[in-house]
């Protein structure tokens, strides 16, 4: 961004659930971008607004209760509002308050006022106020805050058209008149503010006082400045906590008086619709059952519904691959296009249906207010494992695919709880593991019945439970070893139930899909091309030799064309770099009961777990398109060289199953973990510990059963 020529910045501020983001979507529509605030995964939503004279940036800041933050999201807001050199420092604040919750929503507004930033105050949800026949005196509030107050209803689009004009009007107005603070600093605070403002340039005394409260974590202060402020604080015995409480209390007293004059409430005390819904939805027994029914529906949606568009996408990419290879002919470039780039692109796009469907459903649950109830119900259990009530949703979604599940952790504001959820979610068996389970389970458990249950079905359930066991153990350990940056608390608002606003829902879905395709897509593409290279080229002329040998063999045996092709593919894969790597790791995987052929499949299936089955088919020269039954028959006949011992005996197959339950065999998940944690550190750690669990788990079962 060009700093010296910056557009005026308008900040949307307000408490959570004030309707702020709906206003943002209304004002900016599709002209909005989502990025992160520097160094953290807190969404920074920015949009643009223009009239004939100027263009402004509008930033939708995270919902905030006050200038005394309790979460990372809120810290960003305070950090920006006290740094006049920040590129996001607003020229104007559009403050959105819920008119039905004005007592609480005024607190942060009076603080922003005292920071000396010009403000427009929106009284949102006036439609509800009007229905309740409550009267609000807009002029009183306007006089109190010393700024323009607009009663609006974003949901019903009432008066919102005036907001845009009000913004441009306010930006071109002369704002030289000094701010009369609403909150009066006491003697100590005033002294501290005076000295701090000599260390850091501040707009108002309140601005300086906030710096004195938060200097330890404000990221724009130099070490030198921090030491000076520390000295000032200790010189005047500035008590951070007690002063915060005193300020909050006196601000509430201030506007309590205002509201007595300005609001004429006419709400009889009776059970609201929300109360009635919650009697059922958060009921001790009905509540959790209802939750699991809803989750079953969500799971079904991403597992089953998504499979149709996923099939279409796979077919479309396969067809365009054939078309391109037909046009380009048979050469390495054509192969790169088809098996590297087009396959890589297909591997990215194929996740879009699952991501879109999951976020469609989750956003509806979030917007309606239901998600806070989920947190209320599961907070306690998840706390024992270092996670958040919201983690339940991610863990269940992982049963279909870990990628949208990990992306869904953004709403967990505690850093540690979010990280643990990200790290353990891939233990839950996803849909890509099913083909492997299907092929291998028959080698482990005979096709019989135990009572009314099918033995293989029970084994499958065992594999899922093993994944859940992985989640519990690892999250518990992570809870003990990961440091927490802040004290954990709940204190969660359970907002009144509302109908979701479709525009918000669809924009969220769009943003999530874009974030995946742009953020994780690059990494998936890079790894996909690398894997293509390793499987298509070999050292020296090994590949060519392999092909010639296969053709000779074919002529000697009178194979037909298809069989010849399959044998060529098989021997080429064997002599490629990845084939050599498979042989090279054989000593390491022999204790698990695997030969080099399985070694190759372990390496190629890093692209995605289900690739294991296709690679097996290629290696056994039966064509990568073979069905599972053919592959199983081929695998069943496989012997260790020079012996009559089956490769796929019970021990090896069980060992492979355990390996795939635990191993992080999915580059796309790693790419998403990278983009959701903003560092390679966590995906690497995750890959290593999941790999170690897979290796030692597989080693253990193999040695036990062989």
């Amino acid at each position: 961004m060009i700093e010296h020529n910056r557009k005026p910045v308008v900040a949307l501020l307000g408490n959570p659930n004030s309707g702020k983001s709906s206003l943002f979507n209304y004002l900016t529509g599709l002209r909005q971008k989502v990025s992160n605030f520097p160094g953290v995964t807190v969404d920074k939503k920015i949009g643009y607004l223009k009239n004939e004279n100027m263009e402004v940036s509008i930033i939708d800041f995270p919902g905030t209760y006050s200038t005394f933050p309790n979460s990372l999201d809120e810290r960003i807001v305070t950090n920006t509002l006290v740094n006049i050199n920040d590129s996001n420092y607003p020229d104007l604040v559009v403050y959105v308050a819920d008119a039905t919750q004005l007592e609480r929503h005024l607190l942060f507004a009076t603080q922003v006022h005292d920071l000396g930033i010009p403000m427009i105050f929106l009284l949102n949800m006036v439609d509800i106020i009007e229905k309740d026949k409550t009267q609000i005196n807009v002029d009183e509030i306007s006089a109190f805050l010393g700024c323009k107050v607009l009663p609006v209803s974003v949901r019903e689009h009432k008066n919102v058209a005036f907001v845009k004009n009000a913004i441009f009007e306010a930006l071109s107005a002369d704002i030289s008149s000094p701010v009369v603070p609403l909150f009066k600093l006491d003697k100590v605070e005033a002294e501290v503010a005076k000295e701090v403002s000599e260390i850091v340039p501040s707009r108002t005394d309140y601005h300086a006082k906030l710096i004195a409260h938060h200097y330890q974590w404000l990221d724009f202060l130099t070490h030198d400045q921090k030491i000076k402020i520390e000295n000032v604080a200790s010189k005047f015995k500035f008590e951070d906590l007690r002063t915060q409480i005193r300020e909050t209390m006196s601000r509430f007293d201030l506007h309590e008086n205002l509201l007595k004059k300005a609001i004429n409430r006419n709400t009889p005390v009776k059970a609201t619709l929300t109360d009635k819904i919650d009697n059922l939805v958060t009921h001790k027994i009905v509540g959790p059952i209802l939750f699991f029914v809803i989750m079953l529906f969500v799971f079904q949606a991403i597992f089953t519904w998504a499979s149709y568009p996923m099939d279409w996408i796979e077919n479309a990419f396969a067809l365009s691959g054939e078309w391109v290879s037909h046009i380009l002919g048979d050469n390495w470039f054509s192969d790169l296009m088809v098996n590297g780039i087009i396959a890589g692109l297909g591997g990215i796009i194929v996740f879009v249906p699952q991501i879109a469907i999951l976020f469609l459903l989750i956003t509806i649950l979030e917007e309606s207010g239901y998600m806070s109830r989920v947190v209320f119900m599961f907070d306690s259990i998840m706390q024992k494992f270092g996670m958040n009530g919201r983690s339940v949703v991610s863990l269940i979604s992982s049963g279909a695919c870990a990628i949208p599940a990990i992306m869904a952790t953004r709403t967990i504001s505690d850093k540690k709880e979010r990280l643990i959820t990200i790290l353990v979610s891939p233990f839950i068996s996803c849909s890509a593991r099913l083909p492997i389970y299907a092929v291998l389970i028959g080698f482990v458990v005979p096709d019989t019945r135990i009572g009314i249950f099918q033995a293989q079905g029970l084994a499958l359930m065992g594999l899922y439970l093993l994944g859940v066991f992985g989640v519990l153990i690892v999250s518990f350990i992570l809870k003990l070893i990961l440091k927490s940056e802040s004290t954990s608390y709940l204190m969660l608002e359970l907002p009144d139930y509302k109908k979701p606003i479709w525009k918000n829902v669809l924009l969220t879905v769009k943003k999530k899909v874009e974030a995946f395709v742009v953020g994780a897509g690059k990494i998936i593409m890079a790894i996909s091309i690398l894997l293509w290279f390793l499987a298509s080229f070999g050292p020296g002329d090994a590949m060519q030799q392999a092909e010639e040998n296969a053709i000779e063999l074919s002529e000697a045996n009178n194979w037909d064309e298809a069989e010849t092709e399959n044998h060529i593919a098989s021997s080429k894969l064997e002599s490629s770099y990845i084939g050599h790597m498979g042989k090279w790791i054989e000593p390491a995987i022999k204790p698990l009961g695997y030969d080099w052929k399985i070694g190759i499949a372990l390496l190629t299936s890093f692209a995605a777990r289900e690739v294991f089955v296709g690679t097996m088919a290629t290696i056994y020269s039966i064509g990568s398109e073979s069905d599972e039954l053919t592959i199983r028959q081929k695998m069943a006949a496989e012997k260790w060289p020079g012996t009559t011992l089956n490769v796929y005996n019970r021990a090896t197959s069980l060992s492979l199953l355990v390996f795939y339950v635990f191993a992080m065999q999915c580059m796309s998940t790693l790419a998403v973990v990278r983009s959701e944690t903003l560092s390679w550190k966590w995906p690497v750690i995750q890959f290593v510990f999941m790999g170690a669990m897979a290796y030692f788990g597989a080693l253990f079962v193999y040695q036990l059963f062989s």
Binding site: Y65, S66, F68, N70, T100, Q101, E103, R104, L107, F108, L241, R242, Q244, I245, E247, T248, M249, F252, T267, T274, D275, D278, T282, H283, K284, I285, G287, P288, S372, V375, F376, M377, F378, D379, S380, I381, Q383, T487, Y489, L490, M491, L492, E493, L494, P495, D496
Partner: protein, 77 residues
């Protein structure tokens, strides 16, 4: 030593209401206040969560979920 005789929100049975008298100072006290937990405000216990010590409470016109350790700092009449 002071005898602990003051009641806090955890002493309320589901359905019972009381008026908040004070808050025990803590790192999150100002956050509780920002959420509307203020002296002279009426608080009603709605229910306890199925699993563990999490409480659904209702204030004048909004609802909150709080943990036991947070509830303990809210002193009532």
């Amino acid at each position: 030593m002071i005898l602990e005789t003051k009641k806090n929100v955890m002493d309320l049975q589901p359905g019972q209401s009381s008026v908040i008298t004070s808050l025990i100072e803590n790192v999150y006290t100002s956050k509780l206040m920002a959420l509307g937990i203020l002296p002279r405000t009426t608080v009603k216990m709605i229910r306890k969560a199925t699993f563990g010590n999490v409480f659904y409470i209702k204030l004048e016109n909004h609802q909150l979920a709080i943990r036991a350790e947070e509830a303990k700092t809210i002193i009532i009449e």
